[in-house]
Structure formats: structure tokens, C-alpha cells
Amino acid sequence: MNSPHLKMPSFSHSVRDEAAGSKVFPTKPASLITSGSGNSMDQLFRGALLLSAVSVLAIVVLIVSQLYLQSRLSIHQFGWSFFKGQNWDPVAGDFGALPFIFGTLVSSMLALAIAVPLGVGVAIFMNEMCPRPLRNVFSYLVELLAAIPSVIYGLWGIFVLVPLMRQFIEPFLAKHFGWTGLFTGPMYGIGMLPASVILAIMIVPFISSITREVMLAVPSPQREAALALGATRWEMLRIGVLRNARVGIMGGIVLALGRALGETMAVTMLIGNRAEIAKSLFAPGYTMASVIANEFSEATENLYLSALVEIGLALFLVTVIVNIFAQGLIWSITRGNTARSH
């Protein structure tokens, strides 16, 4: 576009002075114009905020470096065989972490197997089936389930779940499913099974809240399209919602896995704490988190301490990877507009 033809209005200084003379505000606070620009305060403010943001990075770096430094002894001594060794003998100075890895994986997987159908079912119930007035109450109750501290799950597990297991559930399982080999041996009540059940109860809220969020993120035209084809409510959910949401639901499940892997107190109180790899779910086991909880303060030998810290480092790395993976899955559905739960 060419430069426009301008006709500048002309104005004289006398007009300006007149205007100034008729001013209704006789006093002007001198301080207002001369007071500091605030620029240096802005810099200071930003600097302080930056400092706290940087400290988040620094904390994680410190944690990782401390875990590495403290586990160096064990890492050098055992190398990769640390994760393959089945023997955990502090007296002999022989440390293999396989039983704990096994216990962690089995208890977490079993917990997921129980919690996933429950969590997804509850999410569907709350989003789609629950009578509206009940919805708030129900989501509040599930929120409470997530808020109960781990140690209280453990307490309840010891005094309620374990006797139940010993007297009813384990005999029942042994009788009907003993042939699988998973439910044999002495019925202590404590062991892999109750630990997994408690873990399952603890992670249901995670799965259900992420699943709900992801389901709500599915655009409603998808539902309407399904309904318009004459789908029943379930078919609408399956085709219009769950199919679109499944990646995000996977994310919720993986996130719950991350929680289960690192869960400590309730598991420690129920799993029996024996470093063995057993096929039967009745048998006591041990997890990475609970061996640290139990033995850390007795570990006076440097190598013993170092081996425990190395387990912690491994647990840290695994949960970080699992969490990143989960966040990625969830993000791919909700595109970041999520009111991140917990």
C-alpha cells in the first residue's frame, strides 16, 4: 500500500496552555512520577522466582547424584549381576536383588489385574451410569480412598484383611484353584496375595480418576455419532468413548503401576518380608521398597547400605520411566487440558 495522503491537524501552543489552565486537579503528587520505575524490583522478583524454579531442578539432580554416590560401592562390586543374583545374605556380604524385583513386579501386576477392571468400571459408573445426585458423593468417597495414608491401609490389612485371608479366602482359593500351583502351601494370611489386594485398593482411585478425565476429554460428537447409528448405551460407550480413550486409560493404568511399584508401608506390613522367589501367592515375599524400609536402619556395613541404596536407585529409575511413559499416554488424549489429579 502506498503512503497515505495525510492532512495533519495543526495545533498551537496557546491552545495547549489554555487546556492546562482549566485543569481541575490542582495538585499532582510529585512522588507519583518520580518514584522508582520498578524495573529493578521486577528483575529481583523474577530472579527470586527463577531461583525457586531452578531449585526444583537442583533437588532432582541432588537426589539422583546422592543415590548414585551412595550406591557406587555396590555397583562396582556386583555390576549387573546385582539384578540377577537370588541370594541376599548381609552376613556373608552377598547381595542379589532379584527376589525384590520379583516381589515388586508380581505384587504390582497382581494389584493391577485386580484394580484395572474395578477402576475402569468405577469410572464408567461415575461418568455414565451413576444417578446424578449420587455422583458427587461417590467421587468424594473415592477421593477419600486416595487420601488414606499407606500406613493405615497396612494397619487395617494386618488386623482385618490378614485374618480374613487366613480363615476364608485362602482356604477357598486353595480348594478350588490349588491345581494352578498359585494357591498352595501354608496359609499364613500375610504374603504376596494380601499385599497385592491392599495395593489394588490403593491404586483404584488413580485409575478411575484418570479414566474419568480421559473419557470426558473425548469429544461428544463421537458419542452422538454412535447414538445416531442406533447404538445401545454400552455400545455407544464402547465405540464412541472407550475406543477413543483407550490410550489415555492405558496412561492411567501405567501411572497407577508407577504408584504401586514404589508403594512402601502397606506392602511392608503385609507381604511377609522374606527374600524368596516362590510360585505360590500365599508365600511371603519382599519388594524393593519394603527391603529398604525394613533393613536400611540396621545396615551398618558399608556394602550392605550401598546395596540397599542401589535398590533405591533402581526403583527411582524404573518409576521415573514408567511415569514419563504414563504422562505421555495421558497427554496424547487430553492434550494438556487436564485438571491433573492428585
Partner: protein, 253 residues
């Protein structure tokens, strides 16, 4: 003390897209100048460059020469914060601070700038609310009601009072009445009429009648350029530029 504004070759960008392509324009002191033009032509961007609000948008930048009175506001020695104290702004949508009472809204500019003068503040609040033609309607609820509890038109006048309290020399108004009903609009227009005796007023409007009613001068913008500026009467009766004529006769826009 009304001051003039001298704008020379002002360019503004949002990221990579250029919204203003070198505007040169003089705003007369103690007068009301209207900026008109079709939506998206850069009116808001232009006025926001006059008090350095443009640069608060991420990735946005401006270039050129803008003088408020004798101060080059983009000059190296000047600070955005000081410029904004001299150049008040009223936005399209009324935006009173919802956490503050009516009184605190008006006093906010002084208090948060660190100028709280106790008893004197009462006088300033009364004077500004009176200037904004709101005093009589709110004087009983000053410290009881929140700014957000007022009606839309009242909220906009509250925002004008709030801007007046820091005693600016220039008042920028970006479509101040477009979100309001006709009665509130006419109140705001009356207000602009009285304000221009003491302030240099720049008002953006997409309503040509409004420009004709309140402004002494009118500038027509199109696609980030200033097409024509003149006495309001002249623009609306015998514009020099064909594009201006097309616009005011409603042939496009």
C-alpha cells in the same frame, strides 16, 4: 496538563506477523481523537503501542518513535511503567479488580504504586468517581461492594475513575462502550466529552456515529496503515481518500 502525541513510523509485530506498517500521526493535546477502521486493522495494536502495553503480549514487539509531550517513550531512558502512569488506558471489556471494593479499585493505582496518602486518598477517590460520573451511584457502597458487583456500564465508569486516579496526561480508550447497552454508552460518551477538556483522549471505536459525536479528530486505519486523518467533520463529510469514503459510506468493512 494535556500533552500531544507525536507518532513516527510506528511498526508493530505479533511474532512474525506485522500488525502496524509504519504509522505517522500527530495527536492534538486536549482533544479527543477517534481511531476508526474495520476490525483487525490494527486499532487496538496502535493504541496499545502508545502506552507500551503492546509489549506485554508474549512475542510482541514495536519499533518506531512515539513522543508523549517531550518524552520519547521508546527511548532508551524511559521505562514502560512510567509511561503507563502518564498514559491511562480503558479497555473494551470493563475489568475492575474483582477482589477489591469500589474504593480500593479507584485507589489501586496509587496504592500499588506505593503512593498511599491516607486521608488524601478519600478525596482522590471522590474526585475521580465524580469525574467518571459514578459518585452519586456508588457513594454509599464504596467500601461495602466489590467492583465486580456493579452493572457493566458502572464497571466501565469505575475503570475510567481508576485510570483517572493516577492522574494521567493522556487517556486511551479501546472501544470503551462496545460491550455496553445504549444508555450506558451515552453516559460514557458524555463522560468522554467532559474529559477531553483536561486530557488528551484517544478513543478506538468501530462505531462511526460515536466517533462523529465525541471526537475532534478522526483517523481511519486500514490493514495496519493510517489512510487518512483529519477533523472529524471533514472525514465524515468530505474525506480526501477514496478508501475512507468507501468505508464511511459502508461500502466495505
Amino acid at each position: 496538563m494535556a500533552v500531544g502525541i507525536k507518532v513516527q513510523n510506528l511498526k508493530a509485530w505479533f511474532g512474525k506477523t506485522q500488525a502496524l506498517h509504519g504509522i505517522t500521526m500527530d495527536v492534538a493535546p486536549g482533544k479527543a481523537t477517534a481511531i476508526i477502521g474495520p476490525s483487525g486493522c490494527g486499532k487496538s495494536t496502535f493504541v496499545r503501542c502508545l502506552n507500551r502495553m503492546h509489549e506485554t503480549i508474549p512475542d510482541a514487539r514495536a519499533e518506531g518513535n512515539v513522543k508523549i509531550g517531550d518524552t520519547d517513550i521508546y527511548g532508551s531512558g524511559s521505562s514502560a511503567v512510567q509511561v503507563r502512569r502518564r498514559v491511562g488506558m480503558v479497555f473494551q471489556k470493563p475489568n475492575p479488580f474483582p477482589t477489591m471494593t469500589i474504593y480500593d479499585n479507584v485507589a489501586a493505582g496509587l496504592r500499588l504504586n506505593g503512593v498511599s496518602r491516607g486521608r488524601e486518598l478519600d478525596a482522590v477517590v471522590e474526585r475521580c468517581l465524580t469525574s467518571a460520573a459514578l459518585w452519586d451511584e456508588v457513594k454509599d457502597d464504596l467500601k461495602k461492594k466489590s467492583g465486580a458487583s456493579l452493572s457493566g456500564g458502572q464497571q466501565q465508569r469505575l475503570c475510567i475513575a481508576r485510570a483517572l486516579a493516577v492522574e494521567p496526561e493522556v487517556l486511551l480508550m479501546d472501544e470503551p462502550a462496545s460491550a455496553l447497552d445504549p444508555i450506558s454508552t451515552s453516559k460514557i460518551e458524555e463522560l468522554i466529552f467532559s474529559l477531553k477538556q483536561n486530557y488528551t483522549v484517544v478513543i478506538v471505536t468501530h462505531n462511526m456515529q460515536q466517533a462523529a459525536r465525541v471526537a475532534d479528530f478522526t483517523a481511519f486505519f486500514l490493514m495496519g496503515e493510517l489512510i487518512e486523518m483529519d477533523k472529524t467533520e471533514k472525514i465524515f463529510t468530505t474525506p480526501s481518500n477514496k478508501k475512507t469514503e468507501d468505508y464511511i459510506t459502508g461500502r466495505f468493512g
